[in-house]
Symmetry: C2
Subunit: 405 residues, 2 copies
Amino acid sequence: MVKINKNYLKLQDSYLFSTVAKKVSEFSEKNPDKKVIKLGIGDVTLPIVPAVVESMKKATDEMGRKESFKGYGPEQGYDFLREKIVEYDYKRRGVNIEKDEIFVSDGAKCDTGNIQELFDENNVIAITDPVYPVYLDTNVMAGRAGEYEERTGKFNKIVYMSVNAENNFEPELPKEQVDLIYLCFPNNPTGTVLKKAELKKWIDYAKDNKAIILFDSAYERFIVEDDVPHSIYEVEGAKEVAIEFRSFSKTAGFTGLRCAYTVVPKELQVEGIQLNKLWNRRQTTKFNGVSYVTQRAAEAVYSEEGQKQVKENIEYYQENAKIIRDGLVNAGYTVYGGINSPYIWLKTPNNMKSWDFFDKLLNDVNIVGTPGSGFGPSGEGYFRLTAFGSRENTIEAMERIKKMN
Amino acid sequence: MVKINKNYLKLQDSYLFSTVAKKVSEFSEKNPDKKVIKLGIGDVTLPIVPAVVESMKKATDEMGRKESFKGYGPEQGYDFLREKIVEYDYKRRGVNIEKDEIFVSDGAKCDTGNIQELFDENNVIAITDPVYPVYLDTNVMAGRAGEYEERTGKFNKIVYMSVNAENNFEPELPKEQVDLIYLCFPNNPTGTVLKKAELKKWIDYAKDNKAIILFDSAYERFIVEDDVPHSIYEVEGAKEVAIEFRSFSKTAGFTGLRCAYTVVPKELQVEGIQLNKLWNRRQTTKFNGVSYVTQRAAEAVYSEEGQKQVKENIEYYQENAKIIRDGLVNAGYTVYGGINSPYIWLKTPNNMKSWDFFDKLLNDVNIVGTPGSGFGPSGEGYFRLTAFGSRENTIEAMERIKKMN
């Protein structure tokens, strides 16, 4: 008799974004005259830049001609793209990554979930709290999370590392033995970063404890401060302990095109086995590569025109982030993130609960954000706004918040 | 201390296609004057049809304009594509499948591997022998295969169902209890099919034994005979026991574009739980949908022009298959498949070993095919040729084989 994977039944339904959507739609129904401004979503809104559009159309034409048609491509990605990644994302920052350490994929979400397949199910997982929910949920599915405890809002086998104003959003090294550590910086949802010295602590910890760091740097393109590493490999020793996840989603607006990559350095060995070889085996067996057209799109991001155009889009979002940050500070809020990140993480006034603040913001000034508690127990009393709205709406939102009591 | 998934170490390296490539390149080096004809690959060669190219370029332009730009799409696929699938692939054949039973993905290879995540690791797996290697390898990775036995060339926990000339390439119902049964028809590598009555036996077996059929119909577009079902759901009762995998790879030449879909009917329940809900949870958590542009490409396959153009391509390959089949029969070979499939499966002459026949074909007449033993122990003594070559090469290959001693 066939049996299902019972771990799926332990998953907690995430009501976060569906509850947000429901509340907003109820409000709009009751108040059809009010203009609601949405600063809750983590999705880009500016279109694909012209250099990328042009490259995609060219690649599409190639696919339509017999002499240039491409069938199955290499599961790891085409060399033309892997070489650009090596050159622009790493070598230019003084980091030496080899072409065959790059694995092009259809999303960092997939990769951060799938990477676990390489590891024994008894490894202990550490995540920050609050956290991007995928790291947790995929481990629940794989049976590594243990049981959910209503009282704490946590799974009993997961090590939660709280990040909050008290520790400057820098997670403390775990006291218990952990094996796989998810770090995402610039962080989603808090928008905060780890500087080089802080990251070095984690690398040393991983070495000392034979742990592996799963480093998600999907937001690296938003970094403006010089001493914040774009890649964990900018920090000495990282290649021996860290896998890095990158994405074109936020850096080039590819959320609807699907292209990302994962770096698995050859130095990274567990029990004498190169993880690079295991990941290669996983990808060649369970994945069939990214569309040729999409890979040509990603390649165009690295062209001179592409870089210029993408930079303009990033600057647009960065300016929005600054407007939100300054607006909130002027209105008397305590604010984090938003400097090297499209996310602004604010402390709710008077220790209001996150969802109460959500209701107040929606009802009083018709602005939608995301309650911090939705990202984990330590997010309670915080609130996330994003810089992905239009300039006009972003400015208007801050004017409204300024006037709010 | 981090530990790897030891199941990966049980994987048998597949030397099939790399050995083929090595032998061919060695031959060509020694014989630079010989024209080698390759009929070994399972990849399409005709370009993407004009209707699809046009639709992709239009979608790309949409992505480049703010008012029509699309960010994250639904993980399950856009309605415009799911509706076309429901209408053309099912309703037109008298099968009622609902839109939310369709999950669009980037490949049937991914889906046939990932689907296992829904099931307990102690389920017993049945595969045909020979078989498309992904079904086996992904189960080895997940720890369901047991140990590899050199003597038999098999894993000791997998139930191998031999398909061969003696049983007309129709696998026999397993005597032992099995829980998950992979069936691929039209079959890769044998090119043979199961008719409705034969499939019905499997559905009854699955019902009686509370097993699930994982039905891969990636080659359905090649079916020409009326009594061969294109979908397992054409057979009564299948919705309660079967998941179906479909792909645009072979049907519309999308091997380089990456689009497929999986059907999980709501009737399909295990221990009172809808697998549709579990797969939805899996996909929304570990997958982020297929590129908008690629989904518009797939949609265009269903347009009037698209259907006409795709049909022409399929007919081109079908004619190649007929040329190979007839050529081999005329040359005195015993031949299977190739009628409802792009694959021709031939019995080697004089019970030659598959690899010996490979060498003979390469050395004597400079033709490359795939040794049957590479697909499993029961493939020994068989050989695969594919219809994906050019017409000219296909004809020439048959002329050469005719003259071969």
